[in-house]
């Protein structure tokens, strides 16, 4: 991909992150009541409240506070957790691998399952398999991911003990162990995206199959799996890739609930704890970090798009 395009995308990403930083900072300012009082708690004395106010820099003008905070963030310091006293950066980096594993495996499942199903449906259009896939996809979009997880847990973890019901195991403990913990949650998370991708892929592939260049390829002797592999897949993937970025954001959101159901100590669990404990510093760090993940993911998707669609590469 050309240099200028990459720079523009990066610039856009930075802009977004800056906006997000403004929003998250503004959120804390919107706290009803005096922030320092709320943070200090009900039993704090006036002196304690003053101390906290000074510590957290609430006595400074707002703009100064913002830039101080931004400065910290840019050096990787997300502050100190109000509830645990630990560095928020440490908390985030401890929790991130679990969430990233979950989201990545979910996307993989969604892509493989969804695009394959959509392609099959388009190639066998009008047949029973097409109708089955379309109906399943329509149903799949309506499924709440955490409910799907509960349903999956039934045969795999509750009625039988084939897979663990909760928890996360890092890859360092072995690939098999890691997979056995992550597979059910990731499948549940990815299913709704798979359904949507299937619909998208089916529409796109149907469109491609009607194009003149498919007929030209057939006139060269291409058919069956060769035709699909060489001509249909790439051309159908182009519109699908464009929506992939949206799905990343949605999966990240969905992972919050899944982590709760599956007992995974990831970013989502961190966020929920922080909310329940009114730990605003951690919440700020969490929101900002999520935005970073999404922006990076979108950049990757853009690069992927450029790789697939030669017209964009110039």
């Amino acid at each position: 991909m050309s240099g200028t395009v990459v720079v523009r995308r990066l610039g856009g990403g930075v802009l977004v992150l800056w906006l997000v930083s403004l929003l998250t900072f503004a959120l804390i300012q919107l706290l009803p009541g005096d922030a320092a009082e709320v943070i200090a708690g009900e039993n704090a004395s006036a002196a304690d409240v003053e101390r906290i106010r000074h510590e957290l820099g609430f006595d400074q003008p707002v703009v100064e506070q913002y830039f101080r905070w931004l400065g910290h963030v840019l050096t990787g310091d997300f502050g100190t957790s109000l509830s645990s006293g630990r560095s928020v950066t440490d908390l985030i980096f401890e929790a991130a691998p679990a969430t990233l594993s979950l989201t990545l495996v979910a996307i993989l499942i969604a892509l493989v399952l969804g695009v394959t199903a959509g392609l099959i449906a388009a190639v066998r259009q009008g047949g029973w398999i097409d109708r089955a896939i379309t109906s399943l996809a329509t149903l799949g979009i309506a499924l709440p991911s955490f409910w799907v997880l509960m349903l999956l847990l039934l045969p795999f973890a509750v009625l039988n003990r084939w897979l663990p019901a909760t928890g996360y195991a890092p890859i360092s403990e072995g690939f098999g162990t890691w997979l056995s913990h992550i597979i059910l949650p990731a499948t549940a998370l990815g299913l709704a995206s798979a359904a949507e991708l299937a619909r998208h892929a089916r529409g796109s592939a149907t469109d491609v199959l009607a194009r003149p260049y498919i007929r030209t390829a057939q006139a060269r002797g291409a058919g069956g799996s060769w035709l699909i592999r060489k001509h249909v897949v790439r051309n159908s993937a182009i519109p699908v890739i464009t929506v992939l970025g949206l799905h990343v954001g949605r999966l990240l959101g969905g992972s919050i609930v899944i982590e709760s159901v599956a007992g995974i100590a990831g970013l989502g669990s961190l966020a929920i704890q922080a909310i329940l404990q009114r730990d605003y510093v951690t919440i700020q760090g969490y929101v900002l970090f999520s935005a970073v993940i999404v922006v990076v993911a979108n950049l990757v998707v853009d690069l992927l798009y450029g790789w697939i669609n030669p017209k964009v590469r110039v």
């Binding site: 030209t216 390829a217 006139a219 060269r220 002797g221 060769w226 060489k230 001509h231 790439r234």
Partner: protein, 337 residues
Amino acid sequence: MTTVQSGSDPVLAVDRLTIDLAGRTSQPGLVQEVSFSVAQGRSLALIGESGCGKTLTAMAILGLLPPELRVTGGEIRFGGENLLTASRRRLRRIRGGPIGMVFQDPMSSLDPTMTVGDQIGESRRLHLGESRRESRAKARELLDRVGIANAARRVDVYPFEMSGGMQQRVMIAAAIACEPKLVIADEPTTALDVTIQAEILELLRSLQDDMGLSVLLVTHDLGVVADFCDDVVVMYAGHVVEKTAVEPLFAQPQHPYTRALLDSVPQTGRARTMLDVIPGRVPPAGTFPTGCRFQPRCGFAEPDVCDAPQPEFEPVAGHWCRCVRVGTHALDLARVA
């Protein structure tokens, strides 16, 4: 079976081909009882207005009709077999192998995500089992052969990076990649500039001479026919109305439709107050009259005679015409194309 040119066996023989909408055979055929053959080393033009069925006929040869249409009668003989009854696998062997095809709008007829070299070499990989590298090397040669400069670099280029004329050359290169016996070209120059048209036709001619190719050219342009083709089949509303070699067609057209067609071509150097047009319009599919389909617009029509189904007559040796009244009405003398 009819031949335009007696002599060696024809490369392709279309015999009473009939095409209908799938599931509806009671309708008079969209393409009905079309017969002609392409002789070895010669080029045959299928000419007619839009909607006359010439493209459908060409598509039917390689089994590329859209799913709504079905062949309901006839044979298409190529290399000793009937293509209409060939298995799907056999057809795939033939497509891009002994029969190559070139399509109309090259911009949309080439895969935008595949390099030119890969598309040209595709049929070689499929039919000759060549590796990607081997087929790309051959593609380079072919690009050279069809007159594209810088072939070595152009092999890795994408279609959208080329002009229309170059893209069409690429399509031709892909069609001849496996040294076919017959190339079917469906309006190959229609979407191109006039100057490029001539170049493409020139290319086809030189390939024909070099490789002993036979060419089936579908077109609506009489100029192309005159410049390039050896034999002509004129179609109207799904029927073949006249077929012969190119000189007799222009010199002595037998069918009233052909004559009207030739008349309607504006000629330079002849001052006229109005263009000659054929009155009326081509009947839409499904509303074809029984008997002669040109009858409503024909100046020589006679109600009783022309309502009956029209067989093909051969009023002059090698010159066939589907008109009952040929020979009974005064023929205008020699025409100059």
